[in-house]
Amino acid sequence: MPDETSTTDAVIHARGLKKCFGEFTAVDGVDFDVAPGEAFGFLGPNGAGKTSTMRMIGCVSPVTAGTLTVFGLDPAHDGARIRSRLGVVPQADTLDNELSVLENLLVYGRYFGLPWSESRRRATELLDFVQLTDRAKDQVEPLSGGMKRRLVIARALINEPALLLLDEPTTGLDPQARHLLWDRLYRLKQRGVTLCLTTHYMDEAEQLCDRLVVMDKAKIVAGGSPRQLIEQYVTREVLELRFNRGEGETDDGAHLDGQLDGLADRIEQLPDRLLVYTADGDATAAAAFERGLRPASILVRRSTLEDVFLRLTGRSLVE
């Protein structure tokens, strides 16, 4: 959790931040700080309040209550000044379909007040950075999902932002496109750009984020580095056991009759399998075998943020 001393140079500073839409509370009093150069993530399922938080940071959604500063400025009064230093990659591609790939960047640069020559210089550079140079003159519509997302990222960089906001940057992309995108974001981070992103993919959070907060039902339920969160909330390894059950039956673990008692720190029952949290998965598997358990399949893996989320909320991230 953020400490009070980091507030002075924080790029984003939020205390008791709240967003309501009528009766509905989308964000319910969250506290966090994002330090310069950091990659900060909001991890949580759909509807947790991640996008609402991002929109408030992006100065396109008024704060209902609490404190929020971006670059030390108040979004309510200095929205235009803040936005001039922000890059925004929204969840849905909002590219200008009536303009070509290059024109999308040129015109966006103009919205930021760049001279045409400077806008063109940066646009050319950015198309190279996101590997779209050969599509410069093409229309936007026929581009693949991954290309469109890369173009949106290039567009968000046209003003050389100090802070890049990414709302679910790789949702809906195939694995190859995701890895290409992660690589570009990693390079930006190395250049010192502060990244703030939302995701419901734990692997994305682990790949990209120095620090993250887990959001659920409008609140922050935990925070720290991916490693810290795993150490704090789950064991190092997980033993996944599947048993052959009759058609339509769920594995409630009742048939085990307590045979795993004492072998694990904690056991989670999912509809199709049991998750046995333990420091040494192989040893636990062997011990279970000795006690006469004969699961249909055994898998030992390292714990992930998915397990952290399951532990914190009792639910899976992607349902």
């Binding site: 396109v60 590219l95 919205y111």
Partner: protein, 269 residues
Amino acid sequence: MLALRLSVPSTLTRPTRMVERNLLVYRRTFMVIFSGFFEPLFYLFSMGFGVGALVGAVQLENGSTVAYAVFVAPALLASSAMNGAIYETSNNFFFKLKYAKLYDAIIATPMSLRDVARGEILWALLRGSLYVVGFLVVIAVLGIAGLGLISSPLGILAFPAAMVVGFAFAGAGMAATTFVRKWQDFDFLQLAIMPMFLFSGTFYPISAYPPALQVFVQCTPLYRGVHLIRALTTGNPDVWIAVDVAYLMAMGLIGLWIVGKRLNKLLLA
């Protein structure tokens, strides 16, 4: 840390970025714009000269008589300015607002929704000015050919007057569009535009109506526009042209104000 590398562009220059964007789009489909240029010309030839040959002269409000084409030409200019403004601020603006999500992307930049509204109205006016200039050029050519449609030096003011008409309808049209939910709703807009075009003293003097109806028509915006431009091209300015200008400017400004409010409500939730 707080030093700003980019200076925030001023409120005056930001709306023009919207115009630049639209120019880039229309650079490719420039022919579309020409369709709006021919419509008033066809009316001028069919009504002004065709029907005009049967009608002969028409009496103006001050009692003087002019050829029918002279009577109709300024009304067609006002209607053309109205149609140009409405076309751009209804369907085109609605598409950008609801389907292209154009403004959702723009508000992430230092541009404000007020800049967007001003820029789009400026664009509608520029586009409308093409029709107006085209129409005036044709009238000038006809004048050289001996078919004088503008009988006063004040006619030179017909251009800025048509821009004022365009501004009024652009502001009001855009404001109306922010309340539109589906394409079919635009039928209601046509239900307002079509009668205005036909009955606002466009093709005949409103002295044809009973007095009560005359007062009603005089309160409609296109009538004010027709009255203003006709007073200038026929060289009959009266005090009412001040009312025309005030009415039309107020209509545009109130429209613009509503657009700003509505866009904030729609896009900055």
